[in-house]
């Protein structure tokens, strides 16, 4: 006879196995590993919460300490492979298979483990794809999550760093999985309920706050004149003519420079109110001067940023905040917002090839994707019009009837022609291809595909790929802004000149920009201290960014 409630019964047996370690839902920190050994079964799909920002670090340590005779062959389905413990799991044989999205700081070690066969790789995803698969074929049986506080019923307050938690818990709790949360403290009443208590099975109080990486903090002191030049080009050559109001910025000094030029250079160009008003963006400290100068109407965030909490709390008109006053972030929703509701993504990358494909992979690192490919891609399902979207669509396809023409999201890659240690940004072939061959991957890890890229900005100028009519033009538009790299020096000068006459390539002088004007004094803030002042002393930067 068919039974239809096997998963429910399994869930009940897991809960019973964990019950001896719990008082109500509460489990002591010292029993964390024992609880995991009781609840988790060999071969389980486990989500260990962590992304490019917050980390369930206590639970990561507890899981890495389980007896591998009892727990082994786990299938980890998680956003971030970031902490050393995340990879210890594979070295120790506790976990075997991995599906993930991002591995910034562990990119080198993960490549080694992949190459050594210690990790059986499912796929490297974008955040949004991985969340999607939580609801189709990668539903976690156990989710190990992280929050700021819990009450006795298990209601969770995630604080400003809500991030991935709702997406993970929804998938796990409603498909008969077990949800275990680490919290900084247990309180009588949580400031607001981010996750309802009846979706949470066990709560462990940590002895120290969970770790959050200040990934989106860029010190204005480190912004170079060339980065300022690229920012001036982007503002005058893209933001202004398309009238981009809804957008996302990547992490990087070029886009930080744009944020800091809005109240100075942007103001001078008369763009206030016309561009950069609605954002899908983490609370970048470098956005403070633009917010304070009245440029920014609204910001929805994937996560929070260390030190920004008091500032956000004091600017509820700009940010999404809860009844408790603090930020409510949500990675899944903000990714969707970036994909469907933004007209532009602009970010930097490590390598761009002649087709415009870009990648942050180098030969011995697998950094993963995070969210950039969702931001940096055209949403084919989009149906609502907007001026920049329509204009970009028209530039790409001037001959189709307007009513049947798709618009295009502006996907802009920005950077200097040479990166650190004189490594060229432009290459004939991406290192990602070598990596794919070495690891026998079906797909090379391409961050943004060339057919999604609309513009490339370097100190040499802007290449508008929408206006290219064939592959040869496209290649030369890219070579034309590739400066003194091998790719740049391989250009046909005549062809590049023709492209320039058609406005496919625009040099600084074509836009009326003198590179000598690219001065650090143009930045609205030139130091972290300046950002603190702009914020009215509400921004409290982490110690590593201070010089006072």
């Amino acid at each position: 006879m068919t039974t239809w409630d096997n998963a429910q019964r399994l869930r009940e047996s897991r809960k019973r196995a964990g019950a001896p370690y719990a008082q109500g839902k509460r489990v002591a920190k010292k029993d964390a590993t024992a609880l995991l050994e009781a609840v988790i079964r060999p071969g389980d799909r486990v989500c260990l919460e962590g992304d490019n920002q917050k980390q369930a670090d206590l639970l990561a340590t507890a899981l890495a300490a389980v007896n591998r005779e009892k727990i082994h062959d786990l299938h980890m389905v998680q956003s971030g492979v970031v902490l050393p413990e995340h990879l210890d799991l594979f070295e120790l044989g506790i976990a075997r298979r991995l599906d993930y999205a991002y591995s910034g700081p562990q990119s080198q070690r993960i490549a080694k483990l992949l190459f050594g066969g210690k990790i059986e790789l499912g796929a490297v995803h974008t955040y949004l794809e991985l969340f999607a698969r939580y609801y189709v074929d990668l539903t976690p049986q156990v989710a190990l999550i992280v929050a700021v506080s819990a009450d006795r019923e298990g209601n969770l307050y995630t604080g400003p760093n809500t991030e991935d938690t709702p997406a993970i818990v929804e998938a796990t709790a409603f498909k008969d999985g077990i949800v275990i949360a680490q919290v900084n403290e247990i309180v009588d009443k949580v400031p607001r309920v981010d996750i309802p208590g009846d979706w949470v099975d066990f709560v462990i109080e940590s002895d120290k706050p969970f770790y959050v990486e200040p990934l989106f903090t860029r010190d204005p002191g480190a912004i170079t004149e060339t980065q300022i030049l690229t920012a001036m080009l982007a503002i005058k050559g893209i933001y202004a003519p398309y009238g981009v109001q809804r957008l996302n910025h990547g992490i990087g000094f070029n886009t930080a420079a744009i944020e800091l030029l809005l109240p100075t250079y942007g103001e001078r160009l008369g763009l206030k109110g016309k561009v950069a008003s609605h954002w899908a963006l983490n609370p970048h400290p470098t956005l403070i001067p633009a917010i304070e100068s009245g440029w920014v109407k609204q910001v929805h965030s994937f996560g929070s940023e260390v030190g920004m909490d008091d500032y956000i709390r004091a600017r509820p008109d700009v940010f999404f905040t809860g009844p408790d006053g603090s930020l409510r972030s949500n990675r899944a929703f903000s990714q969707v917002a970036g994909l469907y509701a933004c007209d532009m993504f602009i970010g930097s990358t490590l390598q761009i090839d002649l087709q415009g494909n870009s990648s942050t992979v180098t030969a011995d690192r697998v950094a993963g994707f995070g969210g950039a490919p969702n931001m940096g891609s055209d949403a084919r399902g989009r149906r609502h019009p907007s001026q920049p979207w329509l204009q970009a669509g028209k530039e790409a396809d001037p001959d189709s009837p307007a009513a049947l023409r798709r618009g295009r999201k502006l996907v802009v890659q920005i950077g200097e022609t040479f990166g650190d240690k004189n490594v060229p940004l432009f290459v004939e072939n991406l290192d990602a291809l070598k990596l794919a061959t070495k690891l026998k991957l079906d797909l090379a890890p391409v961050m943004v595909y060339g057919d999604d890229v609309t513009h490339i900005v370097t100190e040499e100028g802007i290449a508008n790929l929408l206006l290219c009519r064939n592959n040869d033009e496209r290649e030369h538009a890219i070579r034309g802004v590739a400066g003194y790299t091998d790719v740049g020096r391989g250009r046909d000068r005549k062809l590049v000149q023709q492209l320039r006459e058609r406005g496919v390539i625009r040099r600084p002088e074509d836009l009326g920009i003198d590179p000598l004007d690219a001065d650090r004094r143009l930045l609205a803030a030139r130091s972290i201290k300046d950002l603190v002042r702009w914020s009215g002393d509400l921004y409290a930067p982490p110690s590593k960014f201070r010089n006072w």
Partner: protein, 105 residues
């Protein structure tokens, strides 16, 4: 360290009357350019000592473009380079000409 030297004909004399200027500092990824008005008006010279070896072709291209754009006749440029990228080199050279021509200080 690598030493490179390029001499070019320059169609026009650099404007102004300042005898010399120095811009930039020698640091990782940065360079100093000392510009001196010591050559005949139709010539210019760029003398480079660089910590990054093997980039001769790029220097040659950067210098040739610079001379074409700015025509710094009469100037000798002496460079100490801490491994700057071509964009920084081009910027400092342009700053040096601009400063000796008296547009900016």
């Amino acid at each position: 360290m690598e030493t490179l030297n390029y001499r070019h004909k320059a169609p026009q004399r650099a404007k102004g009357s300042k005898r010399q200027v120095i811009v930039g500092v020698v640091a990782s990824g940065n360079l100093e350019v000392l510009a001196e008005r010591v050559l005949p008006d139709s010539e210019c010279e760029v003398d480079i000592r660089t910590a990054a070896e093997g980039f001769g072709e790029i220097w040659q291209a950067v210098v040739a473009d610079f001379v074409e754009r700015r025509s710094p006749g009469g100037l000798k440029f002496s460079i100490n380079d801490g491994g700057a990228r071509p964009d920084t080199v081009a910027l400092r050279l342009a700053q040096a000409v601009s400063a000796i021509e008296g547009e900016r200080t």
